[in-house]
């Protein structure tokens, strides 16, 4: 009887350790996929960072260099948290990479992604919000499309912050056969474009207060002169100070595009 109890406890411990190891491996895989190669850009910088709320998360960002010197940028948020969301994040990444290769613009990319993963997302009662943009460093043109995601914040000079002109679109997995529209904006020398997921503005401190979009705008404006990676660190530090290190419920993800550094940049 005693031996049986010990064996049972040992089995539980073994199962726990195996599970822990597998989750750590999954975390490693996700971090590697998220923090892959950053594109080389002419006269601009791009950077991205993600902090999962638990061991692994459902937020996603990616850069896909296009043949004409442009780069396709995507940021997304899978419904839910943890392992289930992480599995769907990988599905989303696969759909983006496949679509980016063969589609003309961000609108067509989202249309193709929705076509590819709609049935799976509906079967799982899930969805993904994504924002996708083509950045052309040669002309300063940013063409974008949106599937239910927050519009990025544009910081112009050190004095002005505003969201990109609104563009509505249904989340991926919401409706079949959606056609996503595009808008275009011209970015100027010195502009900083900040893409983000809701984990940033909904980060909470111990008083239950949220960080909110106003604090984000203020932080971006005060630090608009910094490089993309410096700004990334500043936003994370500001969030950490605000939350006083309180564990967060949601993943925190950002992508920063900085225009006009005066020389070619590689990160």
């Amino acid at each position: 009887m005693f031996c049986k109890v010990i064996n049972h406890d040992q089995q539980n411990l073994d199962s726990y350790l195996t599970l822990k190891r597998e989750i750590q491996l999954a975390r490693k895989i996700q971090r590697k996929l998220l923090n892959g190669e950053k594109p080389i850009l002419i006269n601009s910088q791009v950077s991205g960072f993600s902090i999962p709320a638990s061991m692994i998360g459902g937020d996603y960002f990616d850069f896909y260099p296009l043949s004409d010197g442009k780069v396709r940028i995507i940021i997304g948020d899978v419904m839910g948290k943890g392992i289930p969301a992480a599995m769907l994040m990988i599905l989303t990444r696969g759909a983006f990479r496949s679509a980016a290769e063969v589609t003309e613009g961000p609108g067509e990319t989202l249309t193709s992604m929705n076509k590819a993963i709609f049935k799976d997302l509906r079967t799982l009662s899930s969805f993904v919000t994504v924002f996708c943009a083509d950045w052309d460093p040669n002309t300063g043109s940013l063409v974008y499309a949106n599937a239910g995601h927050y519009m990025p914040v544009l910081v112009r000079g050190n004095t002005e912050t505003f969201e990109l002109p609104d563009l509505k679109g249904v989340m991926l997995g919401g409706l079949p056969d959606q056609v996503y529209q595009e808008k275009e904006i011209r970015l100027l020398e010195g502009d900083t474009l900040f893409f983000y997921t809701d984990g940033i503005v909904e980060a909470q401190n111990c008083h239950g207060e949220m960080f909110q979009i106003e604090r984000l705008h203020e932080t971006l404006m005060q630090n608009a002169h910094k490089t993309a990676s410096e700004l990334e660190t500043i936003v994370i530090d500001t969030l950490t100070n605000f939350t006083e290190g309180l564990p967060q419920k949601d993943d925190i993800t950002m992508v920063i595009l900085k225009v006009g550094t005066g020389k070619d940049q590689q990160r």
Binding site: D77, V78, G169
Partner: protein
């Protein structure tokens, strides 16, 4: 913070009241069984404190389940933040599209 659900049937209308926090940690408590003979579901959000993407996923599941049976879903008591969030992710467009039976 927790999530409380109150359901009431008035004739062929199912009223669902959502009170508290509707997120990843509480959404398992959100289970709506749609009885036979229901023609309309009214979801009252006036007691809702916060909803995240998981909560929106549960609302979408009701919309889809109702649409499969030809049942109309309406929302009441939405605050500005939740209204804007539903607008942003496309909940209203999905609701209308399914109501029209076009998708």
């Amino acid at each position: 913070m927790s999530l409380v659900m109150k359901e009431e049937i008035n004739g062929s209308i199912l009223n669902v009241q959502v009170i508290g926090l509707m997120d990843y940690s509480t959404v398992d408590n959100f289970m709506v069984e749609i009885p036979d003979n229901i023609t309309k579901i009214v979801i009252d959000f006036s007691g809702l404190d916060f909803i995240d993407s998981t909560g929106i996923g549960s609302i979408l599941s009701i919309i889809h389940a109702a649409a499969d049976r030809g049942i109309v879903v309406t929302f009441e008591g939405l605050n500005k933040e939740t209204d804007e969030l539903f607008e942003l992710v496309g909940v209203y467009i999905i609701k209308e599209a399914l109501l029209q039976g076009g998708q």
